[in-house]
């Protein structure tokens, strides 16, 4: 049993498992934190950004001043944002037989794999994962393509040049692997290779291995996977949640008796309790609006936003915010809100019950009906006519490098009455804000990450008792900024086996039995 670790990001995993002569890719997450090194893409001409000075080396050399710009002491690449792909050199990806997708956040690199590596296999994912994954990809492509950038910077990637640059550009890894965003035809081609599956559906791979998706409780259609043969069982846990939010609850029982449990996608903010963060979000939102300010919530078009809208639905009347407009701006806003209401079988029990009444499972339908929540594909068109302040705007992208959010950051950044509330945990909010400095608007960090925390993992492992646990190296030590928090690591016996990017791991399990069939004439 081998595991090829193609991603170093614990919540955006990409691993390849060689298991009984099958090659299975587990997720293909796309690390977008690379975009934080780029200047934002403004929707309308930004005098501030266009006037940023070029970066000059200490010796006065100016050869990079067209590619790199300086803003409040930070240096940014003035080019179309690029993404850090999973490792493609560690093994021949054309040999991958199947790709198993856990949730829509973990499939964002799919077009790079299926369209550029000679991949000829099948991708397995649930329907909501595919549909919402498509929306995320569509939004990403749309956000970048609608602001075409004339120039493309590549000189800075030269290794000799890169080591002269200031941090964090100097320390950026695998910059030669960074790629521009894929196109919609590539997205469509990639998605056409997906075969839809349902929870607990058993899929035979070449008669040797059986794979089964299980509900993971994290997002609509999110799954953990069981990969088993007659005598071996590997569980792949990625992005799971035990909290009661909108998705179907996590299926823990089926993970029992695993020989190996691969554990990824734990919470990125283990010290932040999601309930407390939602409270913090609501309090800051109400305070800002009551003081006449606007609130900007950079977010993905699906996922936590559904829960936030549900909380606000209960909260706005009690907080006296009934007259404050809530805007959701995304090229896929409408589809996202509508999709959420039709995936009834993938929802938690309470929401499923509502469907039979019949009522819409999510209360944002009522918010839309009563005009409290309005959604628009972009800031252009109807939105500019309807726009009233003070208001609350939900829009992407959470990196603040592209999408409509760039416009609002430029528009509202100068006033201390306004607040930007970060709820997505994928990006460092300070890094995200760096190209907007100096900034007068208030910034609040309320990362809401419903994935498993270390206490829950500890309980889960005690419950399912796998023989071996394999996890990213980040989970086997306390976070670097809180080295005393020994509670913030995976604690199990025997100790978990850890992996890092570009590492090949021999899984700690020896095959002892094999089922064979003897033909009657041989016997």
């Amino acid at each position: 049993f081998f595991q090829y670790c193609l991603s170093g990001h614990p919540t955006l995993p990409c691993n390849v498992l060689k298991f009984k002569s099958t090659t299975i890719m587990l997720d293909c997450g796309l690390d977008m934190t690379s975009t934080l090194n780029f200047l934002p893409l403004p929707l309308v001409q930004s005098p501030r950004l266009s006037k940023l000075p070029g970066w000059v080396l200490k010796d006065g050399s100016t050869f990079l001043d067209k590619e790199l710009k300086e803003c409040s002491g930070h240096v940014f690449v003035d080019s179309v944002p690029e993404f850090c792909l999973p490792e493609t050199e560690l093994l021949d990806l054309s040999t991958v037989d199947v790709i198993l997708i856990s949730n829509y956040h973990c499939m964002m690199a799919l077009p790079y794999i299926t369209e550029y590596t000679g991949f000829t296999g099948t991708v397995y994912a649930t329907e909501p994962t595919v549909q919402i994954g498509r929306l995320l990809m569509e939004e990403l492509v749309n956000s970048i393509e609608r602001v075409p950038k004339a120039q493309s910077a590549s000189m800075w990637k030269n290794k000799e040049v890169q080591r002269l640059l200031p941090a964090p550009l100097k320390d950026a890894v695998e910059v030669s692997m960074w790629r521009k965003c894929y196109t919609m035809p590539e997205v469509n081609a990639a998605l056409s290779k997906i075969q839809l599956v349902g929870y607990s559906q058993k899929i035979e791979l070449f008669g040797a291995v059986q794979v089964t998706p299980l509900s993971s409780g994290y997002a609509l259609g999110s799954s953990n996977w069981i990969i088993q043969s007659h005598y071996e069982k590997v569980s792949y846990v990625s992005g799971s949640s035990l909290l009661t939010t909108h998705p179907q609850p996590m299926d823990q029982a089926s993970l029992k008796n695993s020989d190996v449990l691969i554990l990824t996608g734990l919470t990125q903010i283990p010290t932040a309790n999601p309930d407390g963060m939602v409270g913090e979000f609501c309090s800051n939102l109400a305070m800002t609006v009551r003081n006449g300010g606007n609130v900007l919530v950079p977010c993905y078009p699906s996922g936590v936003i559904y829960d936030l809208l549900e909380c606000l639905y209960q909260y706005i009347d009690s907080a006296g915010l009934s007259n404050v407009p809530f805007y959701f701006i995304s090229p896929v806003a409408n589809s996202s809100l509508e999709f959420s209401q039709i995936f009834a079988e993938w929802l938690c029990h309470n929401k499923q019950t509502k469907v039979y009444l019949p009522e819409p499972p999510f209360p944002h339908a009522e918010l839309i009906q009563t005009n409290k929540l309005k959604h628009y594909p972009s800031i252009h068109g109807d939105f500019s006519n309807d726009f009233k302040q003070p208001c609350v705007v939900f829009t992407g992208h959470p990196s603040l490098r592209f999408g409509d959010v760039v416009h609002f950051m430029e528009l509202w950044g100068k006033s201390s009455l306004n607040t930007v509330i970060f709820t997505e945990p994928d990006f460092s909010y300070l890094d995200a804000l760096a190209p907007y400095q100096p900034l007068a608007m208030k910034c609040v960090y309320c990362p809401i990450d419903t994935r498993l925390n270390f206490i829950q993992v500890s309980k889960l492992l005690k419950e399912v008792q796998p023989l071996h646990v394999v996890c990213p190296e980040q989970y086997t030590q306390p976070p670097p900024t809180q080295s005393h928090r020994t509670d913030l690591m995976v604690d199990c016996q025997p100790p978990a086996m850890s992996y890092r990017r570009a590492e090949v791991l021999t899984l700690p399990y020896k095959r002892r039995y094999e089922k064979i069939e003897i033909m009657p004439d041989v016997s």
Binding site: A272, G276, G279, S283, A286, M287, R290, S318, H484, D487
Partner: protein, 837 residues
């Protein structure tokens, strides 16, 4: 016993003795027993049983039943015990040969019915009731009763076992105190036989190899030394202690695990006994040994108890304090670099190994700390403590615990890392630590740490991970320490620190007032109210408050959907009004409520809010304003009170109506003081034409006070009637200082006489009075000063007061009613049977 009861009793006894005894509920039988207890308590004569032969007949009949039900047999055992509590009745029952058949060998002791725990329990209770005279004691010993009690000590039913243990204590005490006339010595032969039997049993149990026997004996001794009012003052307890002390010591030294949990309580009860008052002797050495040998969890309650004892020797008190401080010291040492802080204890005194191992374990860490913190909170709350608590180190240790709990502290030792891991997000420990922190604010000497302390408190207030209950405790501790900080700032005129902290506090308060969790909004408002109460005179506080958004946010919470929050908002706005509306400075800008608007808003809440809590809060605030003289001149106040009365008098919530009466009481008192020329001197005659008295009456009548007060006398909720009566009695005391009632004839002849007579009749009906008129109705004009003066004099308010003070079920609770109920139950059953036939 009343004649009526005596007539009913035979029927009841006959019914109870009937083989198909009615299914009376146990409470009925218990009430019946209570009644007999009350009848026999002060009357030792034989008359009760002689005059009511049905009682002995009942016992005889029950004993004659082939298979009495456990409940009637239990009742009979207890009844017989109660009746036999006096020597004369005991002899009477003996003559009837009843007691032996109940409590002796031929009684239920050996039968199948003994399997019932209720029967065994009743037997023990019966014996306990009976044992108040020598013949009963001899009867018990001669019929083998002592062995039965010894056996019942280990009964599977805890109630029976506990009752048996209590009975043994009673028997020993009674035996020693009634059968000896000279001081006892340690020689066994000097002790009465019964006492010797019990002592021997205790000694044998203590030496037994059975853990349960040892535990029973120790519990018995604990009860014995704990029954303070009787036995513990007697010298024989000292003799008894000398008998067993060696054995107790051996339990400690041999570290007998089974015995140790009970030892702390035993030693504490012995220590409390005045017999061990001297500071010499081996007893205190044993206590010291116990503090050393018991686990910190077992020794904790003993240590607290000892520290509360005045007579505890100083060295033992210090040892006890060491036990309590050891976990706190361990925390401090685990968190800090060596020699960074002095620690709480001298290392040579304490052996930290046990405590360290308890704190290192996930299962015991929180338990030990919570127990220790609860003990420390108790000690800190004591007015006089004979040892000095090291408050500064204690505070530092508390801060460390709180920082461990929220993961903010990076420990400097492996032990610290383990403790930190055990404590992170432990709400129990957080709450206990914050409770102690709040009490510690009243102790002097912690001022040097106040800055760091507020860093910890603010971290808790700001953290989204703080649970609502922990947040509430944090608010409570913060408000107490803010008062301390203010005192400190006053003394050294250093206001910058106070201002900075207040700014941070108001910033976080703003956010918390907007929380989606109503508990958080509620406790934030309570915190604000607490701050305003304590700090409203402080200029710096007022400035910080007024420059924040807190005022506006608090006012907006008057519309909160949660009624508790609205109530707290009313209280907060009511207190804030002392700064924003009633202060001599110009009104506050930014607040939508000036004095008139606030009163109008509160009136609106009082008359329209659908929930009781906000309305209660409004009436309480109105009363507070009135008390503090914030409602303006007399004319304004009169109108204000009148409006409030008219709103609350029909309120469905009795607490609101009661609040209205309290407002009226304050108004009356203030008006009397204001209008009487000499506030402390009553008027000279009953009927007076002096201007102040007339004026007073006119004010009260205009404010429509009397209608509200008299109507409240008939309120269906008794506290309202009682308060109204108290207020009226107070008023009558003012207008009729000599307590002379009006001449009835004079009242009848007066123009208002008819109305007064009607009022008297109506009031006699009490809460069943229908259609109490709102405006005079049948002839009494509540706004006519003359009529009201007459009413105050004519109505027997004291009688009304007594009537209202009777419990509402005083009729139903009477013995007669009880007996009638039992008979009615029997009657119903008989009727049903007749129907069946």
């Amino acid at each position: 016993m009343t004649r009526e009861c005596a007539l009913l009793l035979p029927g009841v006894c006959a019914a109870l003795a009937h083989p198909r005894q009615p299914c009376l509920d146990d409470t009925c039988l218990e009430k019946l027993l209570d009644w007999f207890r009350s009848l026999t308590w002060f009357d030792p004569t034989v008359e009760l049983v002689q005059d009511n032969p049905c009682l002995t007949e009942l016992i005889t009949s029950v004993l004659a039943l082939p298979e009495p039900s456990p409940s009637i047999l239990s009742f009979t055992l207890q009844l017989a015990g109660i009746l036999a509590s006096s020597e004369s009745r005991f002899q009477h029952l003996q003559q009837e040969k009843l007691l032996g058949r109940l409590f002796g060998q031929e009684g239920p002791r050996g039968g199948a019915v003994w399997e019932e725990a209720s029967v065994r329990s009743a037997w023990v209770k019966g014996v306990h009731s009976m044992l108040h005279h020598q013949p009963a004691l001899h009867f018990l010993c001669s019929t083998g009763g002592m062995d039965v009690i010894f056996t019942l000590q280990g009964d599977p039913s805890l109630f029976v076992a506990s009752a048996a243990s209590q009975l043994l204590v009673h028997v020993l005490t009674f035996s020693l105190e009634s059968e000896t006339s000279k001081p006892l010595s340690t020689k066994d032969c000097d002790w009465p036989a019964c006492a010797q039997m019990i002592i021997k049993h205790i000694e044998e149990s203590l030496q037994s190899s059975s853990a349960s026997h040892i535990e029973q004996a120790l519990k018995l001794l604990t009860s014995l030394f704990g029954s303070c009012f009787g036995s513990c003052y007697a010298a024989w307890t000292e003799v008894l202690w000398l008998h067993i002390a060696k054995q107790i010591e051996s339990f400690l030294l041999e570290e007998n695990v089974q015995a140790q949990p009970v030892l702390a309580n035993l030693l504490l009860n012995v220590a409390r006994s005045p017999v061990f008052g001297g500071t010499e002797g081996s007893f205190w050495a044993l206590v010291t040994s116990a503090l050393e040998h018991l686990t910190p969890v077992q020794a904790g309650p003993l240590a607290v108890g000892l520290l509360k004892l005045c007579k505890c020797p100083q060295d033992v008190s210090i040892q006890a304090l060491t036990v309590l401080l050891q976990p706190m010291d361990c925390i401090l040492r685990a968190a800090s670099q060596p020699l960074e802080y002095a620690g709480l204890l001298d290392e040579s005194v304490s052996d930290p190994v046990t405590v360290e191992s308890l704190l290192s374990s996930k299962t015991s860490c929180a338990g030990l700390l919570c127990q220790t913190l609860a003990h420390l909170e108790k000690l800190l709350s004591l007015k006089h403590l004979r040892v000095d608590l090291p408050c500064v180190s204690l505070l530092r240790s508390l801060m460390t615990i709180l920082q461990f709990c929220n993961g903010f502290l990076s420990p400097a030792s492996p032990l610290g890392s383990t403790i930190s891991r055990n404590l992170i997000n432990c709400f129990r420990v957080q709450k206990s630590a914050l409770d102690v922190l709040a009490v510690l604010s009243e102790k002097k000497g912690c001022d040097t740490l106040i800055g760091s302390l507020f860093d910890v408190l603010l971290a808790y207030l700001q953290s989204p991970n703080t649970s609502p209950t922990v947040l509430k405790k944090t608010f409570q501790a913060t408000s107490k320490w803010l008062v301390r900080l203010q005192e400190l700032s006053c003394s050294n005129s250093q206001w910058q620190q106070m201002e900075k902290i207040l700014e941070d506090v108001f910033l976080v308060l703003q956010k918390r007032l907007c929380s989606p969790c109503w508990e958080v909004r509620d406790s934030s408002l309570e915190f604000l109210t607490a701050m305003v109460k304590c700090l409203r005179e402080q200029k710096e506080f007022r400035q910080c408050l007024l420059s924040s958004e807190v005022l506006r946010l608090t006012e907006s919470l008057l519309e909160d959907p949660e009624s508790y929050v609205r109530a707290s908002a009313v209280t907060a706005v009511g207190h804030l009004a002392f700064i924003t509306c009633f202060a001599p400075e110009s009104p506050v800008t930014g607040s939508q409520y000036n004095k008139e608007n606030t009163i109008a808003k509160f009136q609106e809440i009082l008359s329209t809010d659908s929930e009781g809590f906000p309305r209660r809060a409004v009436i309480n605030i109105f009363t507070k304003w009135l008390r503090e003289g914030c409602t303006g001149q007399l004319e304004d106040t009169e109108q204000f009170v009148s409006r409030v009365i008219q709103t609350v008098e029909h309120d469905l919530d009795w607490e609101v109506r009661l609040g209205g009466l309290e407002l009226v009481e304050v108004f009356c008192r203030q008006t009397i003081c204001q209008l009487s020329q000499c506030p402390y001197a009553p008027v000279s005659s009953a009927v007076t034409n002096s201007t102040p008295q007339n004026e007073l009456l006119q004010v009260f009548c205009r404010a429509k006070l009397f209608g509200f007060l008299f109507r409240s006398l008939c309120d269906c909720d008794k506290p309202v009637g009682q308060t109204a009566c108290d207020v009226l009695i107070g008023l009558r005391g003012h207008f009729y200082p000599m307590s002379t009632l009006e001449n009835p004839q004079e009242i009848e002849d007066s123009p208002a006489g008819r109305g007064i007579a009607w009022l008297q009749r109506t009031l006699r009906q009490g809460s069943v009075a229908q259609n109490f008129p709102t405006d005079g109705g049948d002839g009494v004009d509540f706004q006519d000063p003359e009529s009201m003066m007459l009413a105050l004099g004519a109505i027997d308010l004291l009688e009304l007061h007594d009537e209202l003070n009777k419990s509402s079920d005083h009729v139903e609770e009477s013995p007669q009613s009880l007996l009638q109920d039992i008979l009615a139950t029997v009657g119903t059953i008989e009727d049903n049977e007749a129907d069946c036939y």
